[in-house]
């Protein structure tokens, strides 16, 4: 946590009002997002209980699993979710646009739009990731066949969950993270993790202070949890009696689960409204282009009959992915700072950036010490901010990102604490091809200039061997993929041996249910 963000939290508390952490919105906000609120069965490994899903604010679809421990019911739920999600995802695979690649020597196509999923919190992303893992290897043939849409759903969910790990991607977003990266509240991060408490601070109901709104949001009977974990008292007092009958009433279940999910559904749309009030940052469109690339590539992969994502990446694939994630994180951090003065302020506070006034400028300076003369203007910038760079460092300015400024010298003007520094810089690039700089390309005397060590330069991906050249230190070449290798493609689902699943609401949970003991296959 930076001092700037921490100070914003302190101010939020003192003023009883959330404080901005960004002046612009750093994510792409889709015109037609799909909101998905998953609810999981407590104690089970990723057994869905219900989901509220849809693209229409006034018309959410509620999917309910009648008996979460019954395998058929679970996969029926997966098929229903697949129908909605795949229908949504496919609706963007229509119009394409041409993109020049390889310096214009080639062209490739990508879809002009891409899907965008929203879940309430990081837990929702984790749930989708695991649900993708549990469905994408399911076999569509044989004794334990599932509908063909189920493994496809698994592959899409895995795709979305993987893209959510990529910094700056807007394919799968979560409400808590999106909101708390743009505003600071006067409560702790642990409390912000509850969407209702966070929204209580950001958008309190009329007539309520933020403190009252956040306190009200902690009462699960007023603001049920945003999932995937359920409220234990709801489990014990509402759900357990309903599930205790042999054939639970779907209508009754739907009623109580709608009551639990609908408040979060409305909060999610209000959260999106709130984010929409911020103007979009300049570099968001470029990142959304990358998202559309990723989406287009995955659609193509599916069309070509590519295999499902492996359970674990091979050594080469894992290293390449890590390198891509690191590059994306660095790029996202730099882009946020370049787009947003409030984010850049973090770097100014730490000395990695400073703002100052140009006091001298020699725009026509020619350096002729080399083989041929080159244009190297010099400027002097005076700043009262801490300068954390030394001679030789190369800086850039967000207002002229293609121009490099090499630090020639840094001179402190006086020794007192509030001293000023003079920084002498030599400019190169971004001034046209002639020996005279294009007008406006060299900062003029009196201009206020921000300089930083951050730069947007292209970072090449690492060089990795082909997978079949994996060195023995990394386990050697991976075994080629084959569906029959998959652990659970044709196996029954051992968690539910037969329809006589244990009654989830056994009156005394300490009494072991004998049917569980036979469930090992």
């Amino acid at each position: 946590m930076s001092t700037l963000t921490a100070l914003a939290r302190a101010q939020a508390f003192a003023e009883a009002r959330a404080q901005p952490l960004a002046t612009v919105r750093h994510l792409h906000l889709h015109e037609r997002p799909l909101i998905l609120i998953p609810y999981a069965m407590a104690g089970e490994a990723n057994a869905p209980l219900a989901a509220m899903v849809g693209t229409d604010r006034d018309n959410p679809r509620l999917l309910v699993v009648a008996q979460p421990r019954n395998r058929d019911d679970r996969f029926a739920f997966a098929a229903e979710l697949a129908a909605i999600l795949i229908g949504y995802v496919d609706s963007f695979a229509g119009q394409t646009e041409a993109v020049a690649v390889d310096r214009g020597r080639d062209v490739r196509y990508r879809f002009t739009d891409a899907p965008q999923l929203w879940v309430p919190n990081p837990g929702g992303v984790d749930f989708l990731k695991l649900f993708g893992r549990s469905t994408r290897f399911r076999s569509t043939e044989g004794e334990y066949a599932v509908p063909a849409s189920v493994p496809l759903l698994g592959r899409w969910l895995t795709f979305f969950a993987a893209s959510a790990e990529m910094a700056g991607s807007s394919l799968l977003l979560n409400g808590v993270q999106a909101l708390s990266s743009h505003w600071a509240t006067g409560q702790s991060g642990a409390e912000d993790a509850q969407l209702a408490a966070l929204m209580g601070w950001l958008d309190p109901p009329p007539g309520m202070t933020v403190f009252e709104a956040a306190a009200a949001a902690e009462d699960p009977s007023v603001a049920p949890p945003a999932g995937p974990a359920t409220d234990p008292s709801f489990d014990n007092h509402v759900l357990a009696p309903l599930l205790s009958s042999a054939a639970p009433s779907l209508v009754a279940l739907s009623d109580v689960l709608r009551g639990q999910l609908l408040p979060t559904w409305n909060l999610m749309w209000r959260a999106l409204d709130l984010l929409r009030t911020l103007p979009v940052a300049a570099r968001v469109a470029g990142r959304w282009d990358s998202d559309r690339d990723a989406y287009s590539a995955f659609v193509q992969h599916l069309e070509e009959g590519g295999p499902p994502q492996p359970r674990r990446d091979g050594a080469v694939a894992a290293a390449a992915r890590l390198s891509r994630l690191e590059n994306a994180a660095t790029r996202y951090a730099v882009q946020r700072a370049f787009d947003d003065p409030l984010v850049m302020a973090e770097y100014r506070l730490s000395g990695a950036a400073f703002a100052g006034e140009v006091t001298l400028a020699k725009a026509d300076r020619i350096d002729d010490t080399g083989k041929r003369p080159v244009l190297r203007p010099r400027i002097m910038v005076v700043t009262s901010e801490p300068v954390g760079v030394a001679a030789g460092a190369v800086l850039t300015s967000p207002s002229r990102p293609s121009q490099k400024a090499k630090v020639i010298s840094v001179t402190r003007l006086d020794a007192s604490a509030a001293s000023k520094s003079e920084v002498l810089l030599e400019l190169s690039g971004g001034m046209g091809r002639k020996m005279v700089a294009e007008p406006g390309s060299v900062p003029e005397v009196g201009e206020r200039l921000l300089l930083t060590t951050l730069n947007e330069a292209y970072r090449p991906g690492g060089a990795f061997p082909e997978p079949d050249q994996t060195p023995w230190t990394h386990g050697g070449p991976p075994v080629p993929f084959s569906v029959s290798d998959l652990p659970d493609a044709s196996l029954p689902d051992p968690s539910t041996p037969d329809p006589s699943t244990p009654d989830p609401s056994t009156p005394d949970p300490s009494t072991p249910d004998p049917s569980l003991q036979d469930s090992d296959q």
Partner: protein, 319 residues
């Protein structure tokens, strides 16, 4: 202090007007118990088959002792049986429902590991059964580390017991076995976890814990947590027992809501990272005054104050 005095904290919280919703879903409990029962059925047949693989138990017969059978057994009696068994055992064996003790802050507390397994070479392993899933060899890291800490406590208690009985405490292995359901099934999977790091942390923490009786002696007379007392008096008593609230308390302590209310306006209530980033300044008021330059910083606050002023200037300039 409250724990040592055996105070009913949930009731106390309710009584002073800061109730807290704590509890576990019966579904989660049912599954956890079901998994453990399944493993321990038929004298631990299933559990044994998993343990054979990870611990290399190669003898065909493994004795199994369940020490938790008697309903009328007092804790002390069960602990006695655990001692007796551990003093005697030499062969491969499983000990179910053992009861260990550990001195914490000058008081003896009872601990109940899930199981202790003996290996042929005489090494003892703590076996911990958990119901969270290991999917593709990976599990929730927070849950695994919690289980590791828990198992480390058992290892420590077991080592102290062996030392008392005159055995070599190193007989208790620092490798504990975690048994969890595999993937999305109830098939068990066992993983060996090295808890040396947790053990070191634990030992250090235990030696640093002040003795509870020393703490009690330092309290003013008249401090009491009798539920019959009016809430205001109870709150006054609570003030005598100083709490260091942090948001993490919310998930572990029944009185956290009260403490949060008490610490409103303190930087610690916003979380430790926030407090650290604000230079450790105690209250939010102080922070804002230092940032505005309307308060003279103390000697150790000078650096923090300069940073806060710079931060406030930057925010004001941009917004």
């Amino acid at each position: 202090m409250l724990d040592a005095a055996g105070v009913d904290k949930p009731r106390l919280a309710q009584h002073i007007g800061f109730p807290m919703g704590f509890g576990q879903s019966r579904f989660a409990l049912a599954r956890g118990n079901g998994f453990e029962a399944m493993l321990k059925a038929d004298n631990c047949a299933l559990l044994l088959s998993v343990l054979r693989d990870v611990l290399g138990l190669d003898t065909p017969s493994v004795s199994y002792d369940d020490l938790g059978d008697d309903d009328d057994a007092t804790l002390g009696a069960r602990h006695g049986r655990t001692r007796k068994l551990l003093a005697a055992a030499a062969n491969a064996a499983l000990v179910d429902h053992p009861l260990l003790t550990l001195d914490v802050a000058g008081r003896q507390v009872f601990l109940e590991p899930d199981l202790i397994a003996f290996q042929v070479e005489g090494k003892l392993h703590v076996v911990e059964i958990k119901s969270f899933a290991i999917v593709d060899g990976q599990a929730d890291s927070a849950k695994v580390s919690a289980a590791a800490v828990q198992a480390a406590v058992y290892v420590l208690a077991l080592r102290r017991l062996l030392a008392e009985l005159g055995h070599d405490p190193a007989l208790v292995s620092h490798d504990v076995v975690l048994v969890c359901p595999k993937d999305f099934s109830l098939t068990p999977a066992a993983e060996v976890i090295d808890v040396r790091k947790q053990l070191a942390t634990l030992t250090r923490q235990l030696t640093r814990l002040a003795s509870v009786s020393d703490l009690a002696a330092a309290l003013p007379p008249g401090v009491s947590f009798d539920m019959a007392m009016p809430p205001a008096d109870l709150v006054a008593s609570l003030h005598a027992v100083e709490a260091r609230y942090a948001p993490e308390c919310l998930s572990t302590c029944e009185l956290a809501v009260f403490c949060r209310h008490e610490s409103a306006g303190h930087t610690a209530a916003l979380g430790r990272p926030v407090r650290d980033a604000l230079g450790g300044v105690e209250t939010i008021n102080e922070v804002l005054e230092l940032a505005a330059g309307t308060r003279t910083p103390t000697e150790e606050q000078v650096e923090a104050a300069a940073l806060l002023q710079a931060a406030a200037r930057l925010r004001a300039e941009i917004l």
